[in-house]
């Protein structure tokens, strides 16, 4: 039963106001082609969640798509802050429900296992907890451990409406592999009500059956499978391609101001019809070819 479709169809399945979990981590496996299409389709009031803020969330924040981000903080590493996200939070146009990496991972884990709550040692004594108790008073609580009598902070499970996960390999049913470190992507997918898989390569189910221990995303969780090359550009996809350093620098500079960011959007998102035109715009095959990963290094 094939779920292979276009990016445009997959994005069209997401209602205004939905909660979308995104697979990016800083500058790795960000759902960029997906984010661009969300912006072009003019989705609004989305909630986005991920453990560590990534370029996919930043561009959505900059384009005014988000009303809330649920995350654990994060940056682009040494190329700077997520300027759009930080600006939107400072200006109060989006609400930041901010935790830590493990709190987020545990919230997804609890969602993935059908746990009603999950205890955690993190956050206690911090202003993160105070802030969360203000902006999202229903996501934390205190429980007395029946075995020791100790008080524990507990977190509410997170169950996004859709997980959007950028992977290297998937079949038409949505069975998918993630190569390299997986951060919280497995828990995001399992916690979400359904999953959209964006894959670099589409393979036969026969290939999935050859290495069943690599299947992190089960087909039965997946509603749409979209195959597109370089769909995470300018972020990296391990074993597929490296990040595009020059383009990330360009994005970093542009996004430092709202005006600069608008120019970037006009050029690279609104100024192109689809992902294929975007790939042409950022340098086409000749440039993209230079990013292809060395199979030994993975980048």
């Amino acid at each position: 039963m094939t779920k292979v479709t276009t990016l445009s169809e997959a994005v069209a399945s997401i209602p205004q106001g939905a909660h979308v979990a995104l697979s990016g981590f800083a500058t790795a496996r960000c759902a960029m082609a997906f984010a661009h299409e969300v912006i072009r389709q003019d989705l609004k009031e989305l909630t986005v969640s991920q453990c560590v803020g990534a370029m996919d969330a930043d561009i959505l924040a900059g384009a005014g798509v988000l009303s809330r981000i649920i995350y654990g903080g994060g940056s682009r590493g040494r190329t700077g802050q997520h300027f759009c996200l930080n600006r939107a939070i400072e200006q109060g146009t989006i609400i930041a429900e901010e935790y830590s990496s493990l709190s987020m991972a545990f919230r997804y884990l609890a969602g993935s296992l059908g746990l009603p709550f999950i205890p955690i040692r993190s956050l206690q004594g911090s202003d993160i907890l105070k802030h969360v108790q203000e902006v999202a008073p229903d996501t934390t609580g205190t429980i007395t451990d029946p075995f020791t009598g100790d008080d524990w902070l507990v977190l509410k499970p997170l169950s996004p409406d859709v997980a959007v996960v950028q992977v290297q390999v998937a079949d038409e049913e949505g069975n998918a592999q993630i190569l390299g470190p997986r951060w919280e992507n497995e828990e995001q997918v399992k916690a979400s009500k359904r999953t959209i898989v964006i894959t670099e390569r589409l393979v036969s189910t026969e290939m999935i059956r050859r290495e069943p221990d690599r299947t992190l995303v089960s087909g039965f969780r997946v509603s749409h499978v979209v195959q597109l090359p370089f769909a995470a550009h300018p972020s990296s996809v391990f074993q597929a391609y490296d990040f595009d350093e020059a383009h990330i620098d360009l994005y970093a500079k542009a996004s430092k101001t709202a005006e600069g960011f608008q120019t970037y959007l006009d050029q690279y998102v609104y100024g192109v019809k689809d992902h294929w035109e975007y790939l042409e715009k950022v340098g086409g095959m000749q440039h993209l070819n230079s990013l292809i990963a060395d199979p030994l290094l993975g980048y």
Binding site: G72, G77, E90, L102, R121, D127, G180, R182, Y299
Partner: protein, 256 residues
Amino acid sequence: MTVAKEYASFELMAAAGARELKDGEIVAVGLGLPVVAAFLAKASHAPNITILLELGVVDPEPLEIGVHGLSDPRIWYRAKIHASFVDMLGAVLHRGLVDVGFLGGLEIDAYGNLNTTLLGDPKGKFRRFTGSGGGNDIASSARRTVMIMRHDARKLNEAVSFITSPGYLRGDGERSALGLTGGPSRVITDKAVLGFDPESKRMKIESIHPDTSLEDVLENMNFKPIVPDDLPITEPPTEEQVRLIREEIDPKGNYA
């Protein structure tokens, strides 16, 4: 070991950080200079430490450190494990197995509380920074925490503007009352190595770096740390450590 004739400030900081790690320990490493320090320790006196990166990487052997922090695939190269947050921060850190958490900071206070979230700007507003990532988790669950940061009066305050990662909170057992063990053990700046008084949990100077003075150290702090009578000079990096940083750990000079 021959002491290096010339070295950069960050190289001394990396060497001082490396010295905090004992062989065989499990170390959760945050982005920035802690990465250089941890690899330096592993390449020299502590070959059997286990290096964990929160996103799911254990004991990589990178050819270069890369520019994009933990998300740069250069730093995943030749790892023994590629796994997940739940594996690293859950099944190792929260499970109680991390000996040392190694963090960079934006602002720290007299009790080792770390702020990586909000800094006041001159207009009286706040500017946002990275937030926690795994920092809060590591500071909450590691057996001890080592921090590396700039020695700058705006960043060394009596109390931080936002506690992202708990140190000893306001001292007086406030941390342990919350069920948090561990706590900060060292703060390494570009002027000094600082520790914490076992009783009051207040920051105290352990050593000051060569080519600086106690006056310089204190002038550039916005609170008064405990100053012991006997104040050693921080051991500089060795020639071999400087060579390791320049030739093997960060050959492209990304951290220089």
